[in-house]
C-alpha cells in the first residue's frame, strides 16, 4: 500500500490502494447523501421506539405510544358512529312508520340496514334477500309467515323465531306421520294442492282430503288454507312453497314437518340497527302497511 497522495489529474486524494500502477481515488459519498441516510436511520430508530417493532423472548415490544391496529380500528369505528350520531338520534325519535316521510332519514336507515343485512341476515336469506327454496324464506316477495308490516318485521328481527328468547315467535306443527295413516296423508296432500287452484273451488269440497283438512289443519292454516300469521302458519292457497310445492314435498311436510329457526338479534344488534334492518327489509318490495 502506497502512501496516500493527491492525484494531479483530478485533484482528488487517493486511498493509497494501488494495483498494477492503478490507484484508487477517494471519492466519498456526497455529504448531503450521508446526512439524509443517517437522518433516515434516526427516524427508523425513533419509529421502532414509538411503535410495536420487534419480537422479544417473552412476546413483542409494544412501543411507547401504545398503538395497536385493533385500537386504531376501534377508534375509527367509534368516530364513524359519532359522525352518525345525529342521524341515529333522529331515527330513534321517529316512529318507524313515519320514517318514510323523511327521505333523507329513510335513505340513511336503508343504507345502514343494507349493511347490517349483508352482515347478519344474508348468510341464510341471501344477499338480495331472495331466500333459498327448501331452506329460508324470501323477504322480497309478498308472502309473510309472521307478517310484513314494519312492526312485525322489527319484532321478528328482534326476538327471532323459535329462537329460545323468552319473547320469541313460536309455534309447532305436529308430525302427522305419527297420527294419520299414509293414505290419509296422501289425500290431505291432494286436497292442499287444489287450494291454490282457483278452478277447483267447487270440486275440491268433494275430495276425501277435505274433511281430514278441516279436522286437522284448518285450525292453524285456515278453512281455505289462507294461513295464520299469529302462528306463523303459512298460506297454502298461494304459489309460494317454502319447502316445495310438489305432492311429495307436501306429503313429507305433513308427515315430518320442518320448521325454520331464526335467532333473536336483540342483544346482538342495537335497537337502531334493528330498526334500520326492519326498514330495509320492508323496502325490498313486499313491505305491508
Amino acid at each position: 500500500m502506497a502512501a496516500p497522495e493527491r492525484d494531479p489529474l483530478t485533484g482528488y486524494a487517493t486511498t493509497g490502494h494501488e494495483w498494477d500502477g492503478i490507484k484508487e481515488l477517494t471519492t466519498p459519498i456526497p455529504h448531503w447523501w450521508v446526512t439524509v441516510f443517517l437522518g433516515s436511520c434516526l427516524v427508523a430508530l425513533l419509529y421502532m421506539w414509538l411503535f410495536p417493532s420487534f419480537a422479544t423472548t417473552s412476546g413483542v415490544f409494544k412501543g411507547t405510544l401504545g398503538w395497536t391496529s385493533e385500537g386504531q380500528f376501534a377508534e375509527e369505528m367509534a368516530a364513524g358512529r359519532a359522525a352518525q350520531a345525529d342521524w341515529r338520534h333522529q331515527l330513534a325519535q321517529t316512529p318507524l312508520d313515519q320514517v318514510e316521510s323523511h327521505p333523507d332519514l329513510r335513505r340513511f336507515a336503508i343504507a345502514g340496514g343494507r349493511a347490517a343485512f349483508n352482515e347478519n341476515c344474508a348468510p341464510c336469506h341471501g344477499v338480495g334477500a331472495g331466500g333459498q327454496i327448501g331452506q329460508f324464506p324470501a323477504l322480497v316477495d309478498d308472502d309473510w309467515l309472521w307478517g310484513g308490516s314494519l312492526a312485525a318485521i322489527q319484532q321478528t328481527v328482534r326476538f327471532g323465531i323459535r329462537s329460545g328468547h323468552e319473547e320469541t315467535r313460536d309455534s309447532m306443527m305436529p308430525a302427522f306421520g305419527e297420527m294419520l295413516s299414509a293414505a290419509e296423508i296422501d289425500s290431505i296432500a291432494d286436497y292442499v294442492l287444489t287450494l291454490s287452484d282457483p278452478a277447483a273451488v267447487v270440486t275440491r269440497a268433494s275430495l276425501p282430503g277435505a274433511e281430514l283438512f278441516a279436522a286437522n289443519c284448518a285450525a292453524c292454516h285456515g278453512a281455505t288454507g289462507e294461513g295464520s300469521r299469529d302462528f306463523g302458519a303459512p298460506r297454502l292457497d298461494d304459489a309460494i312453497w317454502l319447502y316445495g310445492g310438489t305432492r311429495d314435498a307436501i306429503r313429507h311436510q305433513i308427515a315430518t314437518p320442518r320448521m325454520g329457526m331464526m335467532p333473536a338479534f336483540a342483544g346482538k344488534l342495537d335497537d337502531d340497527t334493528i330498526r334500520m334492518l326492519a326498514l330495509y327489509v320492508h323496502s325490498l318490495g313486499g313491505g305491508e302497511r
Partner: protein, 508 residues
C-alpha cells in the same frame, strides 16, 4: 428586482434594466390597458352575475359547484360525464392559440394571459407608488401592502367562483365561511403574490412551457415584433449624421404622406439592401454615420420581460408591442417616421422600410389550425346544444333474478336512478314498453302496481328508487325478455329517456 435576461450574449453595451419597466404611451399601450381592464373586469365581476334558475338552485350565473359535482354557466349545467365538452373546449383553446401564434406570434402572452394581465397591474401599481412617494423604505412598505391587498382581492374574488360570491365576503369576515373557503382564499392569495407580484416576468421566462414551443408554430410569415436592422443600424448617438440613404430618400417627408405611398420601388429597395450590408459591416464602436436607432435603450427599459428586441426575436419576447410604442415616441421626437420596431414578417420582400408588411393570411398551417379550432368549437357547441337533460339508469337486481309472488305472478326489481337538469320538471311517468301486461310500482310508494307509474321529483332533482315490475304468471317469459323503460314528462307526455333493459322469468 434583479434584471432577468435569457441571452447569453452581452448586449452591444451594458443596459441597466430598471426595477420597474418604464411607462409608455401609444397604440399598443392603449390596447394592452383596455385588455387588462377588460380581463380583470371579466375575472372579478363574473362571479357576481346572477341567473335565476328556480327554487332550490343556485342563483349565481357562473358557479363551480364542487359539492354538487356540477358546473353552472348561465343557462347551462354541466355534470362530470359532460367532460368531452370540456375536452372539446380545451382543444378549441389550444387550436385557437396555435392559430393566433402562427399569424401574430405570442399575442396571447402579450395581451390576454392572466400572468401578463396581473403582472401589468402590479407594474402599474409599482410605478404609481414610486411616483407618489419616491423610492425608499416607505415605497417598499407601501408596495408590500399594495401587493398583499391585490393578492387578497384576487384570492377572495376567485373563491367566489366556487361559492355564492355576494355572501362570501361577509362569511369570511365573520368567520362563518367553510374551512375550505379560507384555504382556497389563502392558496389563491399566496399564488397571486408569488407568481404575479413577486415572480412576474420570471414565470414567462423560466416557468411557462408556452415560449418553448412557440418556435414550432412561428414561421417566416408570422407577424412578430421586429426591429428593422436595415433601417436602424449602425446605431449611433443622435449627433452622428444619419446614413445618406435614409436621409436621401426622404423618410421625413414620407411621414406626412403616410407609409402607403412609398417612393419609387427599385432604388429604395436597392438602397435598403445596401443599408443592410452597411449595417452588418459597420458595427464599429463609433460609426461615422448612423441608422435610425440612436441606442436610447427605451425599447429595453419598457420591456416587461427585459429583452433587447434589437437582437431579433427571442424566447423572452411576449409580443406585447410596448417597445414599438416606446420607439415610435422617440422616432416622433426625432421627426423620423414610425415603425423602426414594428409587427412585421421576416420573409416578405419589401419595397421600402415603410411599406406595411405583406402578410399571407391564408397559409395552410394557419388555415389548418383555424379549421381544427372551428371543428373543436363545433363539437363542443353541438354537445352543449344536445346535453341530455335527464339521466336515468335502471339496473336489474339479479339477486334473486326474479321474485315469485303469491298469486303466481313474477316480479323483477330494478335500481332506478334519475338525475335531471331541466327547468320545471316536477313529475315523471314511467312505463315498460315491449312487456305486455307489465305493472309498475316504486318501492316507496304505497300504491297498487299500475301500467304507468308517476312520481314527483324533489328539489334535489334526483330520484333513487327501487322500481318493481310485475308480470302475470301467463305473461312471464321463460328466461330473458328485453324491454324498455320509458320515462316521460308526467304532464306533457314528452319522452325524456329510454332505458333498454330486460325481464327475467322462471324457466319452464
Amino acid at each position: 428586482m434583479p434584471a432577468t435576461t435569457l441571452q447569453g450574449l452581452a448586449p452591444s453595451r451594458a443596459i441597466a434594466r430598471p426595477d420597474i419597466p418604464h411607462a409608455t404611451r401609444g397604440r399598443f399601450r392603449r390596447i394592452k390597458t383596455s385588455l387588462t381592464c377588460l380581463m380583470l373586469g371579466i375575472y372579478f365581476l363574473t362571479p357576481w352575475l346572477r341567473w335565476e334558475r328556480g327554487e332550490g338552485l343556485p342563483g349565481q350565473a357562473v358557479l363551480f359547484d364542487l359539492p354538487g359535482r356540477r358546473l353552472m354557466v348561465f343557462g347551462l349545467e354541466f355534470w362530470p360525464q359532460d367532460l368531452p365538452i370540456a375536452v372539446g373546449m380545451m382543444i378549441f383553446g389550444a387550436m385557437a392559440l396555435f392559430f393566433a401564434t402562427t399569424l401574430a406570434g405570442r399575442v396571447w402572452c402579450g395581451f390576454a394571459c392572466p400572468q401578463t394581465v396581473w403582472s401589468d397591474l402590479f407594474f402599474a401599481v409599482d410605478r404609481l407608488i414610486v411616483r407618489l412617494v419616491g423610492k425608499g423604505a416607505s415605497e417598499r412598505r407601501l408596495r408590500t401592502v399594495a401587493w398583499l391587498l391585490i393578492a387578497l382581492a384576487t384570492g377572495v374574488g376567485f373563491t367566489g367562483y366556487f361559492i355564492d360570491a355576494p355572501t362570501l365576503p361577509g362569511l369570511l369576515l365573520t368567520g362563518r365561511a367553510p374551512a375550505i373557503a379560507y384555504a382556497t382564499v389563502l392558496v389563491l392569495t399566496g399564488t397571486t403574490w408569488l407568481l404575479a407580484a413577486y415572480a412576474r416576468e420570471r414565470v414567462c421566462l423560466h416557468m411557462c412551457p408556452w415560449p418553448r414551443f412557440q418556435a414550432a408554430l412561428l414561421d417566416r410569415q408570422s407577424l412578430v415584433v421586429t426591429y428593422q436592422h436595415g433601417r436602424g443600424e449602425p446605431r449611433g448617438r443622435r449627433r452622428t449624421p444619419l446614413r445618406p440613404d435614409l436621409a436621401l430618400h426622404g423618410f421625413g417627408e414620407l411621414q406626412s404622406t403616410g407609409p402607403a405611398i412609398g417612393p419609387a420601388p427599385a432604388a429604395p429597395r436597392l438602397m435598403g439592401l445596401v443599408a443592410e450590408a452597411v449595417a452588418f459591416s459597420a458595427l464599429a464602436p463609433s460609426p461615422s454615420l448612423r441608422g435610425d436607432c440612436i441606442d436610447c435603450t427605451r425599447c429595453v427599459t419598457v420591456c416587461p420581460t427585459g429583452v433587447d428586441i434589437r437582437r431579433g426575436l427571442q424566447m423572452g419576447c411576449i409580443g406585447c408591442g410596448l417597445c414599438i410604442d416606446a420607439c415610435n415616441e422617440v422616432m416622433a421626437r426625432l421627426d423620423r417616421p414610425e415603425g423602426l420596431i414594428r409587427f412585421d414578417v421576416e420573409s416578405a420582400p419589401r419595397r421600402s422600410f415603410l411599406a406595411p408588411p405583406r402578410v399571407d393570411w391564408l397559409r395552410p398551417k394557419a388555415l389548418a389550425f383555424g379549421l381544427a379550432a372551428l371543428l373543436a368549437l363545433g363539437f363542443s357547441g353541438y354537445g352543449m346544444a344536445t346535453l341530455a337533460q335527464v339521466s336515468v339508469h335502471a339496473e336489474p337486481q339479479r339477486n334473486p333474478p326474479f321474485v315469485q309472488l303469491s298469486d303466481g305472478s313474477v316480479r323483477n326489481d330494478y335500481a332506478l336512478r334519475l338525475a335531471h337538469r331541466r327547468a320545471g320538471l316536477a313529475r315523471v311517468a314511467l312505463h315498460a314498453e315491449g312487456l305486455n301486461g307489465a305493472l309498475l310500482r316504486l318501492g316507496t310508494q304505497d300504491l297498487p302496481a299500475a301500467e304507468v307509474v308517476r312520481v314527483a321529483i324533489g328539489s334535489d332533482r334526483t330520484l333513487d328508487e327501487r322500481l318493481l315490475v310485475v308480470l302475470p304468471a301467463r305473461a312471464a317469459p321463460s328466461g330473458r325478455q328485453d324491454f324498455t323503460v320509458v320515462v316521460r314528462e308526467a304532464e306533457t307526455g314528452e319522452e325524456l329517456a329510454r332505458i333498454p333493459t330486460y325481464f327475467w322469468g322462471p324457466e319452464r
